[in-house]
Symmetry: none
DNA sequence: TATGAATGAGCCTTCATTCAT
DNA sequence: AATGAATGAAGGCTCATTCAT
């Protein structure tokens, strides 16, 4: 028995909580709901996580990890930076707009973090990691192609992420307004406008 | 002028609720908190708003109105469209990033709307109005200047709004990362990339 | 203006309360309901009746009066006591079983009176009056016809009233079980069994 | 024998509720009262019964059961039907007139059932069972004695029950008016009047 | 006379948490 | 490692009552 039963159960609870949270949102989710979804008793949940807040933090950590991993997978290694960038943006959008449980949880807890000091650092870290991720992938590609962004490499990823997240929120509020192809096309256009070919060094 | 007091009280409650909601968020705000902030009894709040949901809806309506008005005021009439656009974007950002109570409430309830069917239509309408607003202001200016956006005029405002909102969420989560001037500069650059000067006819 | 407006309004409130009480029962009726039914404000109700209990008492007084009057009208003056008795019993049953608002209110408040010391005396008086009423009508008729009841004239009316009321409750609980004609026939049979022709004197 | 405690607690709550309901009546009884009487917290009551209505239904079921059992025990097996009938009627009356908690609860909830659709079926069933019970006991006895009721065997028990219940309500409203011996005597007389000896065959 | 406004106590219910088993 | 039982603090809401107008 490589994994202790305890760890398995704890993981089950986190997954169940993710599902319930994605379905009902933080404000409407009780520990009972989570316990029921996990097929356990309320007491069991408290055995693994001393308090609701502790559980929620774990859930957020898990959800951000999942989203991050999916995002990472999106950074296609492509021939040309332009094609690669475009495909990456598409995938980034899909990861968020697909309403996966984890993406929903991140969006919901992001809002909670405005008022919950315990959540905020985690989300700040999530953003920071995402930005780093993006920069680390973009920077070498761009340099290799002699392309120079018009805005600082520190800020650029933040902008892209912000754009994506903001559009996601709109899409959640009114799913019929934003057509996926429109969004991707627009983001692409935007992105292209951000770069200029650097003058070759003499 | 009989019983004008009622309207005043109702308005006071909405304002108090806005303050409390901005401070604590929907999930942590009780009617008691609101009543206390308004200097009234819980009963009085229920006298003016039959249910918590009804009150929240009113608060959302009020908050979106305020944000909308401020946004409207941001559309400066300027000499050249470029300068005007830039100044408008700046103000748009400020309206949102200033963490005014109303902006916070809109952001919070936006998240709630994911799980609250009663809230969603209002927020969808809010986005729709904002998009219209922006288009109505931009379209004539751009045409007059012979400028043509690279993405359809239907989609453009949604993109801009999404970008702003997404950045706001990031800024809320970690206020120290995004410097206002960076953001505005980036948005401006982005915006400029969206347009091209149309070839002169004839 | 013969009647003061106040009296008219008070009467309207009592009537409205009777309707609402008959519809919803004491436990589920609020002053608001009554005020709405009377087309007045809650304040107006309190202007006429200082407390809810005072109003309810008035309503009970009114309802018992109405039932009593209808009952009184039921004591037909008929040729023979037997026919008269029979017709009277029929009407008594109808008065109660017809689910008139007043009959319902009496039944409902009768139950309340078990726990409400203020109501009990009124209902005791109601029963006493009803018993007297019946006795006063029956006694001369029976004597004239040389008929003698097998149970004391003091108890007889109580028995008859009890029988009727008990059957009414059953009919309320399950309207389909007791057919009116069965009930009347049974009551009649019962009633006849209560009397015997007295041996003629001399 | 794990967690038998739960059943015990649930039963305690039902009993406590019966006591409180008998003392204060439905309209004046809160869950707090019941919890206090049961020596538990409000939360514990809700743990065992999800809603007040569910608890009340259980209480009613329990109370009708108790009354029924006592009634059943009343059907004495006696030498002659007449003596048996008389003794049975006496006990029936005592069961109801003794103001036992259960009898009071049944009477109170009977009134509630006029306006509570959830209660009505239970009380209808209670009446139906009581009627059946009585018929099953009476029918063979009467037949054996060659006695034939003047009113149909379907209706007879309803009449007797109605009579008893109606008298009980009167006795509750004014305990001093109806002397037990008078009531029993009257009922007996009534009952005797309901039968006639069947003409011997052949 | 009558109204709208406001109060405050109380009600049913939910829920995170604790604990014995 | 997990469960069922129980607690107690809120939470949203109802309602009789009071009061200025």
């Amino acid at each position: 028995m490589r994994y202790k039963k305890s760890e398995i159960s704890a993981a089950q609870i986190v997954q169940a909580a993710t599902r319930v949270l994605a379905r009902q949102g933080y404000a409407r989710t009780s520990l009972m709901d989570i316990a029921k979804e996990a097929g356990m008793s309320k007491g069991a949940v408290h055995y693994h996580f001393p308090t609701k807040e502790a559980l929620i933090q774990e859930v957020l950590a898990h959800a951000t990890n999942v989203v991050q991993e999916r995002t990472l997978a999106a950074w296609a290694e492509d021939a040309t930076p332009f094609v690669g960038l475009r495909r990456s943006l598409e995938t980034l959008w899909e990861v968020r707009a697909s309403r996966s449980d984890e993406a929903l949880v991140v969006a919901d807890l992001l809002a909670q973090s405005l008022y919950d000091d315990a959540l905020r650092p985690q989300l700040a870290a999530f953003y920071a990691t995402a930005a780093h991720q993006m920069r680390d992938h973009l920077a070498p590609q761009l340099e290799a192609a002699g392309i120079q962004p018009k805005i600082p490499m520190e800020v650029l990823p933040r902008i892209v992420i912000g754009l994506l997240d903001g559009l996601v929120m709109q899409a959640f509020a009114d799913p019929d307004v934003l057509e996926p192809e429109d969004v991707v096309a627009a983001i692409e256009t935007l992105a292209l406008g951000l770069f200029e070919v650097a003058p070759k060094k003499g």
